[in-house]
């Protein structure tokens, strides 16, 4: 699957062509993490020096290669946004493991966003630490849009759920207008966020509250 789309080039403030595709393997994923790592390490050093290292979610410091044996056993598929021949963002979804929790649609099937990241050169925390501006904008938005459209294709009517990390809550609650449902004690107190079909449709039309 390859779909033409656009993201925002922050140098011009205008949309540029990008591609949404599902041609990412675990090997490709690990290569991508290796490519992202120097940006993360460089920014993290500066942030730690400034006493602001806690702004970076812990797993950004992981050496994913150490987890390779475990990951290689899993049937994993990703959706990715590519631009200028580089992966700008990655998302892993699961159509089976989680169900809706909002009252009124409790127990219904949904697309669960299991993993999603935007490349570090598109994240302000990293780029500002390095004295730069994010290279592209709207990558996370495109990935959430892809999850909603996948949910519609699967007959889940746009229902999407995820466990947001604290650093991302503003994006999901204010940016996407997902509903923050509950904090899950079995997931380190992370906030469960969910789209109803109506909220998902409003997100796609840009008619958030």
């Amino acid at each position: 699957m390859r779909i033409d789309t656009e993201i925002i080039d922050n140098h011009t403030g205008e949309p540029v062509p990008a591609t949404l595709h599902d041609e990412v393997t675990i090997a490709h994923f690990l290569e991508t993490q290796k490519e992202w790592r120097p940006v993360v390490v460089g920014a993290a050093k500066k942030l730690h020096h400034a006493g602001a290292g806690q702004q970076i979610p812990q797993h950004w410091h992981w050496d994913w290669n150490r987890k390779a044996p475990e990951l290689g056993l899993l049937p994993i598929r990703f959706l990715a946004v590519e631009c200028e021949d580089r992966l700008q963002g990655l998302m892993k979804v699961d159509l089976v493991s989680h169900r809706c929790r909002i009252s009124g649609q409790r127990g219904q099937e949904l697309v669960y966003i299991d993993y999603v990241e935007v490349a570090p050169w598109n994240i302000k925390t990293f780029t500002e630490a390095l004295g730069l501006q994010p290279r592209f904008s709207g990558v996370g938005t495109r990935l959430v849009e892809a999850a909603v459209r996948l949910s519609q294709d699967e007959g889940f009517k746009g229902r999407v759920g995820l466990h947001s990390l604290p650093a991302s809550e503003r994006f999901y609650l204010s940016g996407c207008s997902m509903k923050g449902v509950e904090r899950n004690l079995n997931k380190q107190g992370l906030l469960w966020c969910e789209f109803t079909p109506e909220q998902a449709e409003r997100f796609l039309r840009g008619e958030m509250r």
Binding site: M1, I3, T5, E6, I7, I8, G13, E14, P15, L20, P57, H59, K67, E70, G89, D94, Y112, I113, D114, Y115, V116, E117, V118, N122, I123, K124, T125, T127, P134, S137, G138, V139, G140, T141, R142, L143, V144, E145, A146, R149, L150, L162, H163, S164, L165, A167, S168, R170, F171, Y172, G175, E182, R183, L185, N186, K187, Q188, L190, R205, G206
Partner: protein, 162 residues
Amino acid sequence: MKTMNTDPAWLKRMADLEDGSFVSVGGWVTALEEAEAPARMFQPTRSAFSRLVQLARRERNMTVELLAEESGIRLADLLRIEQDEHYTPTPRVVYRVAQCFSLPETELMALAGLLEVSDNEFSDAALKFAARSAPVQELTREEHAALQEFVRYLTHREKQVS
């Protein structure tokens, strides 16, 4: 999936809202963390399981040895259940604990970490119980009340689920 939103105004507005922020989620990452370090994770249900066994035993004025004799559970297993909150007993041992104290088996399996608990109410109740029942030599009235209340909750939940 055939197309994406082609409206540039929508994209610009959404990109502004995204504002270069983190979009990280916890599903896969926390699952990998937990798989690597289960012993370091605080599990409120497992903590409640330890306290529940301790209090139920003490309420009956039983020593661990006596409980081992009467339940047929190995002494070492009972000690680990009561004192090592990261120890996961076997289903057979949990079944015997349930039989011995007339507690609902399925709920006890969930508390012991043998069944996945998906509702927060259950975890909250376990957390509150663990917090309210700090160990002392004899059961206080509050501990007794906490124990009774939690056992009532487990029994009520078992009936609701079944």
